[in-house]
Symmetry: C2
Subunit: 361 residues, 2 copies
């Protein structure tokens, strides 16, 4: 190692300096740093990984989609990774990909990583294939910690959010609430169905059949055409905001006004939600917080193989009330059938605020 020679020390000392190990005199440290600077030295990660058996990197499996939810989660993971000192290796699997999540994980294992993040996996029916082969910590975002002995989960709790959304509609006075769900292969979609069903059951309401979309506004639009035909439908909880927006458009075209005739609650709180017509009432998802906490726990598990995993904290439940929900029947009747959360004080058609009032539960 040339830096060592230039600084007149041993290779090991250089190593110590670069790893911030103790027991290096200030003087030697300076000399080493200067020499490195002069030579434009940069330490070789491959060699480090080879010698130490650790790559200091985390593999990320993403679904190849620009959907707001998954994309936000990934961005959150990338942001959070910067603070952990781990590099990210990203591989991507798509719906319908024959290799699926298992193939993606396999390729991360080939690349060499110290831990794995799987974001919003879908149920492919053969997750078990991997369980035995993955002995490193695995963080599953937005799904149960299937797979692998050292699995962690974060970003669950969609069921509770779905329940809150449904109850908001119930408290407004709707007899029951229909659900426009995401594709049932997604765990995230299933959780929402469960929460919705739980709310209805708990309040003794009839549980209408689930309508299934594919997260897209187009599928929401198609579902909206169906639902518009049924005069009984006065409240719909949609599995995400995009579907809610397509749904609202279809309802409007069918002559059913939102929220006067039908109330709609979305899920995610996309940045556009306050600006569509009408501004959308929706459940805000704490993507950043979920990613950050999840990564913290993953890194802990990587660095403390023996220790117990850190406990997950419950994510906040945040209902943002805007203008797509109202009591049933034509007229808006202030003060009746309202939830504990206060509505935004401006009129229904006042300029959208970024937030809308929210209800932390």
């Amino acid at each position: 190692m040339d830096v060592a020679r230039l600084a007149g020390v041993s290779q090991k000392t250089v190593s110590r300096v670069f790893n911030d190990e103790p027991y290096v005199s200030a003087d030697v440290r300076r000399r080493v740093l200067d020499a490195a600077e002069e030579l434009g030295y940069r330490r070789n990660n491959a060699a480090r990984a080879l010698a130490s058996g650790r790559t200091r990197s985390i593999g990320v499996v993403t679904l190849g989609t620009a959907l707001y939810g998954p994309a936000s989660l990934i961005m959150g993971v990338e942001r959070a990774a910067r603070d952990t000192g781990y590099a990210l290796r990203v591989v991507n699997t798509m719906e319908g990909d024959p290799a699926g999540v298992a193939g993606a994980v396999e390729s991360l294992l080939d690349q060499g990583v110290d831990g794995i993040v799987i974001s919003e996996p879908i149920d492919e029916g053969h997750e078990g294939d991997l369980s035995a082969r993955v002995d490193m910590p695995v963080l599953v975002l937005g799904a149960p910690p299937i797979l692998a002995p050292r699995a962690l989960a974060a970003g669950t709790g969609a069921d509770l959010m779905a329940r809150t959304a449904t109850e908001h509609l119930l408290e407004l006075g709707h007899a029951t609430v229909h659900h426009l769900a995401g594709p049932q292969r997604w765990y995230a979609a299933r959780d929402r169905v469960e929460g919705w069903r739980a709310a209805l059951t708990a309040h003794g309401r009839t549980v209408p059949p689930v309508v299934e979309g594919d997260w897209s506004a187009a599928s929401g639009y198609a579902a909206g055409r169906e639902l518009a035909r049924d005069g009984e439908v006065t409240a719909v909880f949609a599995g995400n905001d995009d579907m809610a927006i397509g749904l609202i458009r279809a309802l409007a075209e069918a002559g059913r006004r939102v929220p006067e005739d039908v109330s709609v609650v979305g899920f995610d709180d996309i940045p556009l939600a306050p600006y569509v017509t009408p501004p959308l009432t929706t459940m805000r998802q704490p993507f950043d917080a979920v990613a950050q906490e999840g990564l913290k726990r993953l890194v802990h598990a990587i660095e403390n193989p023996q220790a117990l995993p850190m406990p997950a904290s419950d994510p906040p439940v945040d209902l943002v009330i805007r203008s797509s929900t109202a009591p049933p029947s034509t007229r808006m009747t202030p003060g009746r059938g309202r939830s504990a959360a206060s509505r935004s004080s401006g009129g229904r058609h006042s300029p959208p605020r970024n937030g809308g009032s929210s209800h932390h539960g």
Copy 2:
């Protein structure tokens, strides 16, 4: 190497088998593969990288945002990477990050990569800092190929698209077109301003002052409140769809109907564009094609250091006409002042189609 022992061959032969090198008898190849299978052997990438000096990975610098455009581009890159055999190492830089793109690149250099992709960089004023230090191929997406001797660019051409959008409005009969631009630190935003200005100048129209937003619907909304006050404004070209949607909302609240009083063209063609009110006329961006072609050229540059870089092809210019644009003045007058592109045949308020008619130029 245990596989070698089990198969009764030398280490080198195993290496040959796994690298698909010629000169291995079918028999030996079989034995090696079987032995590897039995031992669950998986080749160590760190060792490979160390010995060969190549990491077979590409570094990606992203802006930490879930904005549709940048997110789609990244997804496109990830998808394209799967076919190249290169792994992806992603680091993320945020607006306002003091280290900026330079810091992100630096960290990729530390990690060791064979090439770099920088997606939609913003002008930070000190890009030059890196030029000298980066001797590997760099692909810049959505910006000029600044930085580094071996830089490539892809996904440019926004100026031409902006020009087409502006001309669509001019051909509809509008006297001039206002522009709601993205933040001018983004090269992508600047290109659109240029194209817009070029179109106006070429047609001898007055060039109104640029209104600058930050890509968000909120900023579009704010700009819309301003523009609504000016009765001269009959056509606006927005730098992206989110701003266009915020803008339309503000106009509507100010009593200016879209498209009857004001026409609006967006940029990106987000999946929601057909479902907002009114369905948005917009320029579709070919994110996937750009990412794929860019990556192909980058890999070519990595693997053929001496060869000339592959030439970039021009991306298609694709105007999707929906219902947010119309001739000026109240009534819609079919057949007058129209562009060569045919309008979608259904009425203005017919169910949104996924596409809308488009105009390839």
